[in-house]
Subunit: 275 residues, 2 copies
Amino acid sequence: MPYYAFLNGKMLPIEKAFVHISDLGLLRGYAVFDYLRTYNRKPFLLQQHLARFEHSARELNLELPCSGKQIEGIISRLLSKSAIRTDCGIRLLLTGGRSADGITISRPTFAITTEKLIFPPESAYRKGVKLITREFQRESPYIKTTNYKNAIRLNPEKLRQKAHEILYCFGGKILETTRNNFFVFKGDTLITPGANILHGITRSFVLSLAKGVFRVEERDVLVSELPGVSEAFITGTTRKILPVVKVNDQAIGEGKPGKNSLHLLKLFEEKVAER
Amino acid sequence: MPYYAFLNGKMLPIEKAFVHISDLGLLRGYAVFDYLRTYNRKPFLLQQHLARFEHSARELNLELPCSGKQIEGIISRLLSKSAIRTDCGIRLLLTGGRSADGITISRPTFAITTEKLIFPPESAYRKGVKLITREFQRESPYIKTTNYKNAIRLNPEKLRQKAHEILYCFGGKILETTRNNFFVFKGDTLITPGANILHGITRSFVLSLAKGVFRVEERDVLVSELPGVSEAFITGTTRKILPVVKVNDQAIGEGKPGKNSLHLLKLFEEKVAER
């Protein structure tokens, strides 16, 4: 079952998808992307991902070579062509393209790829995961750029400490993990940072699920608040709602997945099963 | 005269040098590089560039697939193969390579390319150039990563303001331009920032030329000092020593290239002509 790619107008097996070495996406890290998944073989929250992707492109002065409607069509062709029987990931990528002087954008490179989904182990949901913190704030937190240098650089340290993710904190505030948004419960109040983070699509979906069930606050979450929270979790496309039971050496609540988090996860899974 | 590339062990015309779309250098901006030039068809300050490249690679946990000596040999073969009659640029690039999970490094992608040199117009040296400032400090200033997102994003604004470069300042301190180091003269004292900047190879070379001729200080340079400086210039591989006569609306010294700067430029050109 070969995964397929759409690259600058051509449909081809992903193994044959190459970009030129002078592409600004490679030489200058000038690129934005978005990543979504299918449930029951249908793209999940596609409109929201497209809207964010278009926002990211606009922020980097990059013009998308096709409309949202056309992208939908390409994804649909990719999914049937890929002949994948399971769900998959879908990546949208837009770079500065080739540039004569290494600084001036000409024709952007645009790709959509289908990919194998990689999930956390099932035990992570049963036991909850550990995060470790690092002092860091992303350069342009509201834009989904390809800059994950810090995340990859810290990966060996993360593995050494048996942590599931790195939690970026800055000036005493908790922001986000390298690839996920962060939530805490204080009793029945759900709290999540709203500033200087990437506004995750799963984050918004979880907030919409939570409203009506819990009190919801979007506000700065301080590192110093952690000893007082009863539950924590992270959200993301492949992680859905993943309980966090430890941050560095600080146990969260009772040190096991919290009941409110598990309730939200159940609501989440019911919603996607309906599709 | 086709420029050639060395890519993962193969020598090929640069037009045929492609990297796979799943390369971490493209998908995650995980890559370091270095850039040097030839004078009289011989690589200039190659050992210094190699040392910095190796430092950048080490900082990102990337292993170079060949030794400095081997890189020298490859460059020499590239130069004869490229059959370029003029001087050229040489780019070394090392990325995280393809990754199964988008985060774990396996086999780095390594490339060396030869490129056409692009110089400032001759008039820039006669009249001096204007810089505009922006509040920004690079994420890992001591590592030469491929993250030039901010530089490319600001390029249209730079052109609109007829500026030659963007000068990054942070917390009242002048740091560097998007691709060059910054120097000022106060009388016969040459001053340049030493912290939170990329340590340019041309910068070091200019400092070594200046010592003995001028008093030299490596220290923080404040934005508030600009009205009191008599000369300014930027340094870089293709710019050598380029006089700066204006920063935003602030004229530098007498608003024309300064005599000390031009003296250093003359020393610079004598040195490279000797080779």
